[in-house]
Amino acid sequence: MTTNNFTGASHYVLDAELAQIVNVSMALEMPLLLKGEPGTGKTMLGHAIAESLKMPLIVLNVKSSMKLVEALYQYDTLTRLNDSRFGDSNRDVSDIEAYIRMGKIGQAFIAENRCLLLIDEIDKADTDFQDDMLDVLDQMSFDIMEIDKTVKALQRPVIIITSNAKKDLSDPFLGRCNFHHIAFPDPKMMRKILGVHFPDISDTLVENAIAAFYRLRQIDGLEKRPATRELINWIRALQSDADFNPKQLVKNDLPFLGVLFKKSRDYQTAVEQVRRRVKY
C-alpha cells in the first residue's frame, strides 16, 4: 500500500535480500517473523525501519510470564479499588474505562499515524500467547471485556516479530507471517557494519580485528559465541587503549578478551586457545 520503500538507516547495514523481504511484507500487510542467532541485528532492524520510514516505534518486549491481555490492555482494578475507598482522585470511579490502560499492542492500534510494532523475542512466551496474538493481529481488533468495547486498529501497523531461539512457533502462527532467517554476517558484511559504526577507523585495525574475531568464533565448545555487539565493543576497547597496535592481533596477542567472552568458562577456553596458538 505504501510507496515508501525501506532502503536502510543510518546505523544499519541492510542486505538486498532482507530489504526485499521487508518491502514485500509491508506491501502484503503481513507480519514479518525474523529468526537468527543473537547479535545478527533482528531487533536493530525494527529500529532501522522505524527510523528510515519515520514511523513511531512501539516495542513489545515479550516476557516468559506474559499473558496476551497485558499486551493489549490492562484493567487497573487496584487503583479503582483504592479510588473507591479514598475518593481522592479526579477519576470517575463508576467509569471503568478510566481504569483501562492500553498495552503495547493496544497503543499501536489506537495510534493516529501508522506505526511500527516490534514484538521482540516472542519465543519467550508460551504457545498460548502466540496463538491468541494470532487472532488479534489477524483481525486487527480486540475486545475489552470489562467495558464490552472493541478496539479496532486505526492504521494497520507494520509488524516485525523477532525470535531468538531456533525453536519452532506454532504452525498457524507461522502461516500468517512471512519468515526470514538472518544468518550471521560474513566477514565482508561485517566490514561494512563496522564501517557504519566507526566511520574513521583504520583499515588495518578492521582487517585484523575481523580476522581475529572470526578465528575466535570458531573455537569449539563455546557456550555463547561472541556476536556483532561484542565485536563493536571490543574494537571500542582496543581503540581506547593508547598502547595498542593493530599488528598485535596478527600475532594472536589479543587484549580485552573479556569483552568478547562473557561467560567465565568461555573466557578460559578462549584464553587457553589463544595462548596455545601463540606458541606455534
Binding site: 536502510g8 526485499q20 514485500v24 506491501a27 565482508k188
Partner: protein, 396 residues
C-alpha cells in the same frame, strides 16, 4: 503459475500451505516480484517458515529453475568441485586448462555457466583428479564489485553486491547446517536444551488465595488486603538410563549427560543410571557399572509418574535380549530374559521413551531395535527426535 514448483516443494517435504501460495500470488499480482531473484527471496519468505527447510527450498529451487539434480549427493559434490575449479580457473586459467588437457584460450570463450557444466562433465569422467577439489574457496570470492566505500549519512542497499543469480545462491546451499536431521552434536546443545525445557508442566502462575484474603481483610477491620499465592509448580522426576558399553555409544554419552545436567534445575530429581546393551535385573549408578547396583524391582517404589528416558543403540545379538541368561557378562544371571525386564520397566513407568543415536533408516536392519521399539516408543537422538520424544513424554 508455479504450481509445479509448489508441489515439488511439497513432495520434497517442505511444509507449504495453499494459503501461503495464494499470498505469493498476491505479491506477484501486485508487481512486487519482478525478477527471478525477487521471486527467490519473496517466495522463500512467504512459503517457507523455518530455516530448517531453507536448504531443501534451495535444492528444489535450483532443481526447478535450473534443472539442478535433486538430493543427489554425488551431483552436489560435483557441483561443489566444479565451482571450486571455477574459482581456481579465475585465478589461474593456465594450470587448470593444462590439468584438464584443454587449451586455455578455448576455455576462455565459455561463459561461467558453460564452464561449470564443462568441469562437471570432465569430473564425471576422471574422478581421480579431485585432489584440489575440497579446497573450497570463499563463496563470494569472485565478486569484483567495489562496495567498501561508505556514505557517512545514508545507506546502503546499493553497497551490497550480489553478483550471483538466485539460482546460484540457491545452489550454494547456505542453509545446510540448519537441517535438523543429523545426529546430536555439541554444537546443537543449545537448541536441544530448548527442547528439553518443554519437559515441564506449568500450572497457572498467580492465584488469589480467597480464604487468606478474607481472613486478612477481616483482620484489617475491612481494609481490603489481597493475598496472592504462587501456584505450586509440580516438577517432574526423571530417570535417565544410558547405554555406556560399546564404542558405538561413546560420542553420544557426554552430550546426553551434559544436556540433562544443564536442565537438572527444572526437575525435582534427575537420576542417571547406566547399562550395557540392554537391561537385566540391575541398572548401575556408576559409569563403570560395578559399585552401585540398582535392582529394577526397586523401581516399583518410585513415583509411577517418573519419566524414564533410555538412551542406547539397542543393537545387540538377539540372544542377549531373548535368552534367559543372555547377558554377555558372565556374572549376571538374572533368570529372566532381558526383554521381560524391559517390559517390566515399561509397565512401571508409563511415560517412557528410548532415544536411539542410530539413524532411523537403519533401524530395520537390526532385529533387536525393532523388538525394543515395540516395548518403548523409540525416537532418533536428533533435535527432531528429541522434540518428538519430549512431546510423547508430556502427553497424558
Amino acid at each position: 503459475m508455479f504450481i509445479d514448483f509448489f508441489y515439488k516443494l511439497k513432495d520434497q517435504g517442505v511444509p507449504v500451505t495453499p494459503t501461503a501460495f495464494l499470498t505469493l500470488h498476491k505479491a506477484l499480482s501486485r508487481g512486487l516480484i519482478q525478477s527471478l531473484d525477487d521471486f527467490y527471496t519473496a517466495s522463500r519468505s512467504i512459503l517457507v517458515k523455518s530455516e530448517r527447510y531453507f536448504d531443501l527450498y534451495d535444492q528444489v529451487f535450483a532443481h526447478h529453475f535450473e534443472g539442478a539434480e535433486l538430493t543427489d549427493a554425488m551431483g552436489l559434490e560435483l557441483d561443489e568441485l566444479a565451482r571450486a575449479l571455477l574459482e581456481q580457473w579465475l585465478q589461474d586459467p593456465k594450470t587448470i586448462a593444462d590439468a584438464l588437457g584443454m587449451d586455455a584460450a578455448e576455455l576462455q570463450k565459455l561463459t561461467p555457466d558453460e564452464l561449470i557444466e564443462y568441469f562437471k562433465e570432465r569430473l564425471k569422467e576422471q574422478t581421480e583428479r579431485h585432489d584440489g577439489g575440497n579446497r573450497w574457496i570463499g563463496t563470494g570470492g569472485t565478486s569484483p564489485v567495489g562496495h567498501s566505500g561508505h556514505h557517512p549519512g545514508g545507506m546502503r542497499v546499493g553497497g551490497m553486491s550480489r553478483n550471483k543469480s538466485a539460482v546460484k545462491v540457491a545452489m550454494e546451499r547456505r542453509y545446510k547446517d540448519y537441517s535438523l536431521q543429523g545426529p546430536l552434536t555439541r554444537a546443537m546443545m543449545g537448541e536441544a536444551l530448548k527442547r528439553l525445557r518443554h519437559l515441564r508442566p506449568s500450572g497457572p502462575r498467580d492465584q488469589i488465595n480467597i480464604d487468606k484474603t478474607i481472613y486478612q481483610t477481616m483482620k484489617n477491620a475491612g481494609e481490603i488486603e489481597i493475598v496472592f499465592d504462587r501456584s505450586l509448580k509440580d516438577r517432574l522426576k526423571v530417570i535417565l538410563a544410558i547405554d555406556n558399553g560399546g564404542w558405538s555409544m561413546d560420542p553420544y554419552i557426554p552430550v546426553v549427560q551434559t544436556l540433562f545436567d544443564y536442565t537438572r534445575a527444572q526437575f525435582k530429581a534427575l537420576t542417571t543410571l547406566f547399562f550395557h546393551n540392554t537391561i537385566y535385573d540391575t541398572l548401575w549408578g556408576d559409569p563403570a557399572r560395578y559399585r552401585k547396583p540398582r535392582p529394577i524391582q526397586e523401581f516399583v517404589r518410585q513415583d509411577p509418574d517418573t519419566r524414564l528416558i533410555l538412551v542406547g543403540d539397542a543393537s545387540m545379538a538377539p540372544y542377549e535380549l531373548m535368552a534367559q541368561d543372555g547377558s554377555i557378562h558372565i556374572a549376571v544371571r538374572s533368570g529372566m530374559p532381558s526383554i521381560e525386564c524391559l517390559k517390566f520397566l515399561a509397565q512401571t513407568f508409563k511415560h517412557c521413551v528410548w532415544l536411539n543415536p542410530t539413524p532411523r533408516y537403519q533401524w530395520d536392519y537390526t532385529r533387536t531395535i525393532g523388538l525394543i521399539a515395540q516395548i518403548f516408543p523409540m525416537f532418533e537422538l536428533t533435535i527432531d527426535g528429541l522434540e518428538k520424544a519430549i512431546a510423547h513424554l508430556m502427553s497424558k
